[in-house]
Symmetry: C2
Subunit: 262 residues, 2 copies
């Protein structure tokens, strides 16, 4: 299978290398990833400046292409330029250092690379490990092979991306695998107000831990807190269906009289 790997921690991140090393014996693996760390870039694309591509070696051998852009840029340019119009069979984004669950996925470069793949009609998955330090990516990398198989065995639609989160605990403590929804609970966060050495005020975003949504047991953050692997199918449609159906039947804003005000 022809697989494109990308991430948002940058081409030198250990999570990407772990994925590469695990998959390269079984598949034709191509790496196109950001030159530098791109966390919390969201679904960002680069319009105002050009992109450059550079070959990168790791462990003394050719590893992949570094792009001076975001994860979504990497997916776009890989599918459209490097594969000469023949898209890969699968796109995997990760392994991210840190979970991507709840509303935080809207900020996630890792997830947006998978969503971009889905835009382009390629089965895609984001893989994240819920760890912050001393991560062991080996289990997550091996589980990614299972995710690839699942994408085909389950008949996953090509426009759907999977968001996979793996607990950062010893594998024997993992309690199961479940299909989940994205949590929508509010994230607790705040700004720290500080002064620089010249007395100027600056702010730094702190907190941001997803609060576990007790009311909805089927969401990603709850599964992860219960030491389960969560798999959430994502689709790039932000329409609120409930409000769409309701608002259609409300009196809409008039605009005719505004013509006279000008």
């Amino acid at each position: 299978m022809k697989i494109l790997l990308t991430n948002d921690d940058g081409i030198y991140a250990p999570g990407l290398l772990a994925l590469y090393e695990c998959l390269t014996s079984y598949h034709e693996v191509h790496v196109v990833a950001p030159e530098s760390e791109m966390s919390a870039v969201g679904h960002c694309i680069t319009l105002s400046r050009p992109l450059r591509i550079q070959k990168v070696s790791r462990k003394g051998a050719f590893f992949g292409y570094a792009v001076t852009g975001t994860p979504a840029d990497c997916v776009k340019i890989a599918v459209q330029e490097l594969f000469n119009g023949t898209p890969p069979d699968i796109i995997l984004s990760g392994i991210n250092l840190g979970a991507n669950v709840g509303v935080n996925i809207l900020y996630s470069g890792t997830v947006s690379a998978a969503t971009e793949g889905a835009f382009l009609g390629v089965r895609s998955a984001a893989i994240s490990l819920d760890a912050t330090k001393d991560p062991d990516f080996r289990f997550a990398a091996q589980f990614s092979r299972k995710v690839i198989r699942f994408m085909f065995s389950s008949g996953l639609k090509v426009n759907t991306a999977l968001n996979v989160n793996i607990p950062g605990i010893p594998p024997e403590k993992i309690k199961g695998v479940c299909v989940t929804r994205q949590a929508t609970a509010r994230v607790e966060e705040r700004f720290e107000r500080r002064s620089d050495p010249r007395g100027n005020v600056y702010y730094w975003l702190a907190g941001g831990k997803e609060s576990v949504e007790k009311s909805k047991p089927e969401v990603d953050s709850v599964a992860l807190s219960e030491n389960k692997i969560s798999i959430t199918p994502l689709y790039y449609d932000l329409t609120c269906e409930e409000e769409y159906e309701r608002l259609k039947n409300q009196p809409l804003p008039s605009f005719e009289e505004l013509r006279l005000d000008l």
Copy 2:
């Protein structure tokens, strides 16, 4: 009413000024916007560097605060720092120069500011004018007053954002207002491959025009192409409900045997 204005074209953009000048006679208006242009930043937040805030004057009077961050940063810091914990009644993001419809809204800083407001529980709307040059923002600014009223009269849920797109044509040619869904059709785009003066290759993203989705008449891009104002309710949940329901009943990837491989 206490209204927060922001945008992604930056604090000096004419669309923001038009909105400010139209609303300031009727409401308590606060401006917190990016210091510089932030188009296509998506739902990006700044974690790796601190944010600074600076007072900005326009036309010789205090206008608002410029933030060294993205539209989502502006909304976060405004709600949490500048309003001292008392959030505004309404957040408006815009008026953007250019439409924000279809899958492109996932790249849009204008829309993500409204989504961020919805995260924070504030009724929010993104306002975009489908024009590229010589824009006349006056009608769109006046229509924004109607949008504000609609947000209350329709009982819009506080966690829902409205994505409003206004045709960039003379107001008397506008054909109506309609509640729409986000289009999901693929966007046609490509990279231009160029060489710099030193012979190095670079790529520049071109195209990106939303293709009109003929099969679904109720979507934003179709309404706009028919010279109608479109209003799409958005919710920050990317879960694909259809695939969620289906995948739940599929055989899930096993993981137990992976423990032994390590």
